[in-house]
Amino acid sequence: MFEAIIELARGMGITLKHFFQPPVTIQYPEIKRPVRNRFKGRHELKRYDNGLERCIGCSLCAAACPADAIFVEAAENTDEQRFSPGERYARVYEINMLRCIFCGYCEDACPTQAIVLEHNYELSFYDRQSAIYTKDMLIVDVPVNGRPTPQTVEPGVFNRAIPEMENPK
């Protein structure tokens, strides 16, 4: 009987201890906890420093996607109208964000590191149509020293589709 009361009091001690500890809550909309480096959030289509798109329209991401959430339609590059190095570029690049499960397979499969899962996780939509991200929404801004695509370039410079890359961290 006496022990029982001691045990009950012990439990109450634990809750009281927490009462005087600061709460662990992160006040979300005002304070955002930074996500980890590898976090897989909303995708972005990257560009090279000169403004050319990294995506070469190979559709490997679409093939690797377990949810079939990516749709790519490629078109031919020319030196007058060059979007990306190599032969082809993605004319249409769409991701259905409500199908995407953020597994990162597309990022692994991409041979040019064009598609990268970045750190934005705030994906709320009022309707399903707006969850389909087109290429304009996915692609990053042209870097400071770059030119917007399509570019007119000298022939024979950008033949190589797959660049030299480092292993990801």
């Binding site: 439990g11 109450m12 809750t15 009281l16 927490h18 809550t25």
Partner: protein
């Protein structure tokens, strides 16, 4: 003062006090949410309403963040559709929430809030209450608290839902079991003070609270009061994990809000009663010189009572139905009967002068 004047005075005071307690009820919900949150390492409601307070850094500080939360709840509940289930008993279904709320308010009538405040209390009475000087106040409390069980039972029955019926049945069984222990423990201050008038009981505790004289009765009363209130760990009738929401499962909108209201108002009033019967009521240091302090002391004691209830809720698991009944009938009731008899014998013997030295010591 004439009878009529006293009645009018009672009405006015009653209205004011009810309003105070209804506001108090709203903030008790907030208190519960906040304290629970802090005990669980959270923050609790802090978005609805705040007082902006400019700081030197430019970013304004939010004082009392969340203090409008009860208002938001109320507004939402008022503007919520309030359907009556098709197969429910319409009259009883709508009557039940009122039956739950009215007794909770009625109990307030006999609680002495403060001592004799000149100019506020009619001169023939010694303390400030809505109905001062009621010489059966304790009986009144017992009677009224047992009415409130009807609200719950009828709500459970009228909803025509199995969970609600189970909740209602549990409620009636629980109330009956704990009513006895509670009554017996309430009688002990009555016997000690030799009066059923709440004000007399408070005055009799001058210098020695009954909790020190009779800790057993005080503990039994607190446990039984928790059970009467259907608070954790005795909240079987709305046991979320077993019966979804128990008796109020079919209630929506403000009718559901009324059950909420009843529960929290009873929390306040039973804290007040416990404070009055065992913890010296409105009494405290300097209360004789400055009678208004009585309000402060009583509110403080009520607050401590509420905090304890919330604390218990944050910590303990819930009892099982049979364990609850066993505890009520096999532990609380015998203990309170024996305690009652011992106290009775002691009082008689003391009156006979057998324990005169001891009795003098305790101030009988």
């Amino acid at each position: 003062m004439t009878i009529g004047q006293i009645a009018l005075w009672g009405l006015v005071v009653g209205f004011i006090m009810s309003m105070v307690v209804i506001t108090g009820f709203a903030y008790t919900t907030l208190l519960e949410r906040k304290v629970l949150a802090r005990m669980q390492a959270r923050v609790g409601p802090n978005r609805a309403g705040y007082i902006p307070f400019p700081t030197r850094t430019g970013r304004e500080k939010k004082l009392l963040a969340g203090f409008m939360q009860p208002a938001a709840d109320a507004v939402k509940l008022f503007f919520k559709e309030d359907p009556t289930p098709a197969k429910a008993d319409w009259l009883v279904y709508n009557l039940a929430p009122m039956l739950a709320v009215i007794p909770a308010i009625l109990i307030l009538a006999v609680i002495p809030w403060a001592g004799k405040i000149p100019g506020l209390v009619p001169e023939q009475y010694n303390y400030f209450a809505i109905v001062p000087g009621l010489n059966v106040a304790v009986l009144f409390i017992l009677a009224v608290t047992s009415i409130s069980v009807y609200g719950v039972v009828l709500a459970g029955w009228a909803s025509n839902s199995k969970y609600a019926v189970l909740g209602g049945i549990r409620a009636s069984a629980q109330m009956i079991s704990y009513e006895l222990a509670m009554s017996l423990s309430v009688l002990i201050p009555v016997m000690l003070a030799n009066s059923m008038d709440m004000g007399v009981i408070v005055e009799a505790q001058k210098g020695h609270w009954y909790v020190f004289l009779q800790p057993v009765a005080a503990i039994i009363f607190s446990i039984a009061a928790l059970a009467e209130l259907q608070r954790a760990p005795f909240d079987l009738l709305e046991a979320e994990q077993e019966l979804s929401a128990g008796f109020n499962v079919e209630y929506a909108g403000m009718r559901f809000g009324m059950f909420f209201m009843a529960e929290y108002m009873k929390m306040i009033s039973l804290s007040a009663i416990a404070a009055t019967l065992f913890f010296g009521g409105y009494r405290g240091p300097f209360v004789d010189q400055i009678p208004v302090l009585g309000f402060v002391y009583l509110f403080l004691k009520i607050f401590i009572g509420l905090f304890l209830m919330i604390w218990i809720r944050a910590t303990f698991p819930r009892l099982r139905y049979d364990q609850l009944m066993l505890f009520g009938w096999k532990v609380l009731l015998p203990v309170s009967v024996i305690n009652f008899m011992i106290v009775a014998v002691f009082i008689v013997l003391a009156a006979e002068g057998v324990f005169a030295p001891i009795a003098n010591f305790f101030g009988f």
